[in-house]
């Protein structure tokens, strides 16, 4: 049996250690507190596009389903509501069913929240951290902040904020994406994801960090709707060499709106015949008490290592990928 050996080289283990040190130094200097929250949680996200691992906690006369977190977001927001101030965490996150060149079901995430920051401030800080992480390892040619609409419309001629199935279909057929109709149906967000992944990400300029902000409202997730334009949300995504690296929000603090979004997603899961989940009542209670105005972002550190080391697959930067775990 040869697969007892690590997937990555010793050199990559060192690069990972160096990356973690840079991150910890960066936040220490900014007085952002490092925290830990549980990986095993009694509730999980409701997003129909995220599949989770569930397990059982057994005690005499007691059994309870627990979920491996798909991200530390809910627990960290509870800390924020409890008055933690700005915090960051480096932890494992788990997403079932995600395995591929850029996906391992267990991966390492850096997530941080800045109290009092709006999305612009968070993007500026993210750029700063990236510059520190790339320094001396790989050139970071430029950082480009661009709105989703500008990027999408320039590349495709389509308006991403207004769903026109006929226009989208004509475009898809013209560029050899005849399957789009079958795969996406009448789901606006699915169409945008498909076109963005196949037609836009691969054509991003190499060596440039893209910060794409102003995502269409149908892809709002846990972001706030923009104050001036209700068609967009205060959400940002990071890309480098066409690879999605991170996702951030000017955080939704409205408990009522959050609960409505949970309910919508739970209903969608039921229609899709997906596993039932309950909304996280403790998160809702925390939001009801009051989440301070804040922005937060999560970055996939294994993907970042892929970029820093110019590795072809996520397995190349993991000690043991899921197939050797």
């Amino acid at each position: 049996m040869e697969d007892w050996q690590p997937n990555c080289s010793i050199e990559l283990m060192r690069l990972r250690a160096q990356m973690l040190q840079t991150i910890r130094r960066f936040f220490a200097e900014k007085n952002v507190l490092e925290v830990e929250t549980p990986l095993l949680c009694s509730a999980t996200g409701t997003d129909p596009n995220l599949d989770f691992f569930a397990t059982e906690w057994r005690m005499p006369h007691m059994r309870q389903t627990l979920f491996l977190q798909t991200s530390p977001e809910f627990a960290m927001k509870r800390l924020l509501a409890a008055g933690s101030g700005s915090i960051y965490q480096i932890c494992k996150a788990f997403r079932n069913g995600e395995t591929g060149r850029f996906h391992n079901p267990e991966f390492t995430m850096l997530e941080w929240y800045r109290v009092g920051f709006d999305l612009d401030q968070l993007m500026a800080e993210t750029g700063e951290l990236m510059t520190a992480l790339f320094a001396g390892i790989r050139p970071l040619t430029a950082t480009q902040s661009i709105s989703y609409q500008d990027l999408f419309q320039t590349a495709t001629g389509l308006n991403p904020l207004i769903f026109s199935l006929p226009d989208y279909t004509v475009y898809a057929q013209r560029c050899g994406l005849a399957d789009a109709d079958r795969v996406c149906g009448g789901n606006h967000a699915d169409w945008l994801d498909l076109i963005f992944s196949i037609r836009i990400q691969p054509n991003m300029t190499q060596g440039v960090l893209y910060m794409v902000y102003g995502y269409p409202a149908c892809m709002s997730s846990l972001a706030r709707i923009n104050a001036e334009n209700p068609l967009i949300t205060d959400r940002v995504e990071l890309f480098f060499d066409g690879v999605e690296l991170g996702n951030g929000y000017y955080e939704l603090t409205d408990a009522q709106e959050q609960e409505q979004r949970f309910d919508r997603e739970i209903a969608e899961r039921a229609i899709n015949n997906q596993a039932r989940v309950n909304k996280d009542q403790r998160l809702l209670a925390a939001l009801n008490t009051g989440l301070p105005d804040c922005s937060g972002i999560a970055i996939g550190l294994d993907r970042l290592l892929m970029i820093l080391s110019d590795s072809p697959a996520i397995a190349n930067v993991l000690s043991f990928s899921i197939r050797r775990a």
Binding site: E98, G100, H103, D179, V183, S197
Partner: protein, 189 residues
Amino acid sequence: MATYSTSEFRGGLKIMLDNDPCAIIENEFVKPGKGQAFNRVKIRNLKTGRVIERTFKSGETLESADVVDTDMQYLYNDGEYRHFMKSDTFEQYQADEKAVGDAAKWLKDQDMCTVTLWNDAPLAVTPANFVELEIVETDPGVRGDTSGGGGKPAKLVTGAVVRVPLFVQTGEIIKVDTRTGEYISRVKE
């Protein structure tokens, strides 16, 4: 018939797509952090040889195709069909020009090759990677020229034309790489 889901798609898997037998070349899982998962799949249509790229929702399934590669001996050409035989069972198969395709120019009687069968009928023929064939026609080269540069065309007994070094003459047998159509060496009888 068995079905395969997107997570089982890997290079070499034979599946049915739009009623044609196809082989998976490459399968990439694509999933935005907050979006729907799908697979971008490179597929070769085994009937036409064309490579296409298709998109599937993760979890979609395709039927398997009854396609097998079989080692066979090439027997003869009757003008309409070429005939092949499985060496172990002596079962014979006939393939038309469409199935034989480009392989025709490398096939010499008695040579071994690979016949791809779909539902037990020849779908494609692949010659051996290296074949040894006689030159039936080439310009006489300059004597003493043993350099590799330049070369000249030479017509082989099967009809194929390959570039050979100037010192190689009509009547000689040469070894050719059928994947590239390149001359490898002379074969001493």
